[in-house]
């Protein structure tokens, strides 16, 4: 069996990337906590993972002609949705600071988990390469 580094690392690499992207979106929500009319956003993590899985398994659509539409980049932020506010404020802002902050912290923890898995994969590969 040929070892491809991409498949050896599995789902953890796109998971880590998704976590980083989500951290960016949540940081942006928190930076705009006092901006009138700002609508809080979040990433649909499961949709993003679904997409990553599809690409990993090679089931995604491929470009075989110059004039084909690039489906992977056509909707790069289709997972980026607007949050349904529990308590919208008078100025139209839908950021709930406490919730966003707890989500950011949780995302950071899950990022650490993904990181740990990825690290495990890499040290496994290292062991296999050095043959110990």
């Amino acid at each position: 069996m040929a070892i491809s580094l991409d498949s050896a690392l599995g789902i953890h690499q796109p998971a880590l990337e998704a976590r980083i992207k989500r951290a960016e979106v949540l940081a942006n929500n928190l930076a705009n906590a006092d901006t009138p009319g700002y609508k809080a956003r979040d990433i649909d993590f499961s949709a993003m993972m679904q997409k990553a899985k599809q690409e990993l398994s090679g089931l995604g659509m491929e470009k075989t002609h110059d004039q084909h539409m690039d489906t992977s980049s056509m909707a790069p932020d289709s997972e980026l949705l607007y949050r349904v506010p529990h308590q919208p404020s008078v100025d139209g802002n839908t950021v709930d600071t406490q919730q966003e902050q707890s989500r950011f912290m949780r995302n950071a923890m899950e990022y650490q988990a993904s990181f740990q898995f990825l690290n495990g994969k890499i040290s496994g590969l290292k062991k296999a390469i050095s043959g110990q």
Binding site: E17, I20, A23, N32, A33, D34, P36, L80, F115
Partner: protein, 149 residues
């Protein structure tokens, strides 16, 4: 990797909040600045915040359809500072050196209690942005240790 942009986002939040704190400080400092006419009197100043969209930073994408609404955004900016048009306080103080011929002086329309609440809100928001930046920093530092024993 877009962890770097979290620094920009949190940085823009800190800049905006410190500017808000600045206007609050200016308002409180000038809360008792009397003058003899309505035109000269200090008026409470408030910053107006607006979200930065990614397409603003990337002019090449501006022509694309839906480009304005895509992307997670890139922080917050201060669109301007507006002066409050609430009514000035007119007080009868004939002994005041700035009193007009009828003995009235005009005091700014600064509501000190409101300003104090605003001050707390902006300093909390500033702290929050610092926390975000610290988290992004530790996430980045962990990336650097990837693959090490």
């Amino acid at each position: 990797m877009s962890l770097g942009s979290i620094f920009d986002i949190a940085g823009s939040g800190m800049t905006a909040q410190s500017l808000r704190l600045n206007t609050t400080a200016s308002n409180i400092a000038n809360a008792e600045t009397a003058s003899s006419s309505t035109g000269e009197t200090y008026r409470a100043r408030k910053p107006v915040f607006a979200a930065i969209q990614q397409s603003m930073l990337n002019p090449s994408q501006q022509g694309l359809a839906f480009a304005s609404d895509e992307g997670p955004g890139a922080g917050v900016r201060v669109e301007g500072i507006v002066e409050s048009d609430a009514e000035l306080q007119m007080r009868y103080e004939p002994d005041h050196p700035a009193a007009n011929e009828d003995g009235y002086v005009f005091y700014p329309n600064v509501n000190v209690v409101e300003e104090m609440a605003d001050m707390m809100s902006s300093s909390r928001s500033f702290q929050m942005n610092v926390d975000i930046m610290n988290s992004a920093k530790s996430m980045m530092q962990r990336i650097l240790t990837l693959g090490q024993q």
